[in-house]
């Protein structure tokens, strides 16, 4: 067992680790469209926060333009859309359009909610990085955001996000 890697060092306290390492991941969680069921969005926002991210939550009934503008002002590295209304094939292209209009092509966009499996390829083809439907383990979403943002930072030469 002597060749086993050493156990990881105890994590430093957040306020001290942050000053020395990369800043926390900044994420926007948004609910476009008219459905007002935001429990899922809030649960995801909470899980991402507990994973050490700074999560901006927009509230319900956002337009694609206000979501993209919020992503811009908040310098969000990833945007999660929660859609339960069935309007995902209408709303997602419009959000992507508004993001691109603001030069935010490189922001990681993922979608959660009630999305039929048959629609997932279409969403992925539009540029959605991941789709999480009902029953997806929360850990999958957290891991996806961590890895996608780390890859985005690596591509831009920024320091990688630190593990929580």
């Amino acid at each position: 067992m002597s060749d086993a890697p050493p156990p990881p060092a105890a994590p430093a306290r957040p306020e001290t680790a942050r000053a020395a390492l990369a800043p926390p991941i900044r994420v926007l969680v948004a609910k476009p469209g008219l459905d007002g069921h935001d429990r899922g969005a809030k649960v995801v926002a909470r899980a991402l926060r507990d994973a050490g991210m700074e999560v901006v939550y927009t509230g319900i009934r956002q337009t694609p333009a206000t979501i993209a503008e919020a992503a811009l002002q908040e310098d969000a590295e990833a945007v999660g859309l929660s859609i339960l209304s069935g309007a995902h094939l209408t709303l997602v292209p419009r959000v992507l359009e508004e993001l691109r209009a603001r030069g935010l092509d490189d922001v990681v966009l993922w979608v959660g909610g009630i999305i039929p499996a048959a629609d997932v390829p279409a969403l992925r083809a539009l540029g959605v990085a991941a789709v999480f439907g009902p029953g997806s383990p929360m850990a999958d979403t957290v891991q996806f955001v961590q890895e996608a943002v780390a890859a985005r930072r690596a591509a831009s030469g920024a320091p990688r996000p630190s593990a929580p």
Binding site: T63, Q73, D75, L104
Partner: protein
């Protein structure tokens, strides 16, 4: 005047930071958002960026809003922003929410009350997490406000939860400090007496459509009347921010306070106080970061063991730790 590049700083990174400042100040909104992230992260590039933009800031009037959770600060900030917009000002908003001391993450929900402002390009809203370290919030907020100021936002609203020393320090960085209260808090008024009330230039009783609003206003006016007479008497105003009631009067009072500062010797005095508070916050933040890093260095284990075994005093080890700090290199 050019300054030599201190050791350890990459000239390329400095050039990137300066280019970002130029683009942000030329009106590029995404560059401004990136600049705010850079300033928030601290470090040498943030120092370079702030050095480049700070001489071009100073025109904006900074308003700090503080008060207990649930007093309607976000809604009031949004309503004030709309009123300032109606009067032709460009408005920057910094909405501060706490970082979890356990995960280091933060849930930033103030935008929920400000949705309509996202459609107005005369408004820039940024959510800010406290991120923990002593002085860090105040130091970062000062830099963020300066960036919005230099980018042409003429009224800057900073919203903080009015608990904790760091949040009060943020209020001290403002030209005009607004303390928000609500009816029926009871002992909250007692708590206000202890500190926040003294920093208030303006007192607002929000949710004034609730019962007991008049009593809360009367209590605050009574407290104000007990203070020594001063050139500026902080007014006590009632609002219902959700309906916009009383909001124009608050903006009038902010503008009156701005004019008072401009016309009296209180203005330069306040400017010096703000400068001192800002420098102190930046120094505290820098010191806290280095101190925390130094305290984790392996060489101190033996000293901690001695303290744990009650063989040495924690004060003495702390004095040694402070004496060993290297303060000569730039943060």
């Amino acid at each position: 005047m050019t300054q030599p590049t201190p050791p350890g700083r990459s000239p390329a990174a400095s050039a990137v930071a300066r280019a970002l400042v130029e683009r942000a100040l030329a009106g590029e909104r995404r560059a401004l958002a990136r600049l705010l992230s850079l300033l928030e992260a601290r470090g040498p590039e943030a120092a370079t960026a702030l050095r480049a933009l700070y001489p071009r800031a100073g025109a904006a009037h900074v308003v700090g809003l503080t008060g207990p959770p649930g007093s309607g600060k976000s809604t009031l900030v949004a309503a004030l922003a709309r009123e300032f917009r109606r009067r032709g000002a460009r408005v920057g908003i910094l909405a501060v929410d706490p970082t979890s001391p356990y995960s280091g993450g933060a849930l930033l929900g103030d935008r929920v009350r400000m949705t309509d402002l996202a459609a107005d390009d005369g408004v820039f809203v940024r959510s800010v997490a406290t991120r923990g370290a002593v002085g860090g919030l105040a130091a970062a907020t000062l830099a963020l406000a300066a960036a919005l100021d230099a980018a042409g936002y003429s009224r800057i609203l900073i919203e903080t939860v009015g608990v904790g020393q760091d949040e009060v320090a943020v209020a001290r960085l403002a030209h005009t400090t607004v303390v928000v209260s609500v009816p029926g808090l009871g002992d909250e008024v007692q708590a206000l007496k202890a500190g926040l009330l003294e920093t208030a230039d303006l007192l607002v009783v929000n949710k004034a459509d609730r019962p007991e609003a008049e009593r809360t206003v009367a209590e605050l006016r009574l407290l104000q009347s007990l203070a020594a007479p001063a050139a500026w008497q902080p007014p006590v105003l009632a609002t219902v921010a959700t309906r916009g009631d009383g909001v124009a009067a608050v903006v009038d009072a902010v503008e009156a306070h701005r004019e008072y500062l401009a016309a009296s010797e209180a203005g330069p005095r306040r400017a010096l106080e703000r400068a001192r508070a800002g420098v102190l916050a930046a120094a505290e933040s820098c010191l806290a970061t280095r101190l925390a890093a130094a305290a984790r260095a392996p060489g101190w284990e033996a000293a901690y063991q001695a303290v744990a075994a009650h063989e040495r005093s924690p004060y003495d080890v702390a004095a040694e730790l402070l004496a060993a700090l290297d303060l000569t290199t730039e943060a």
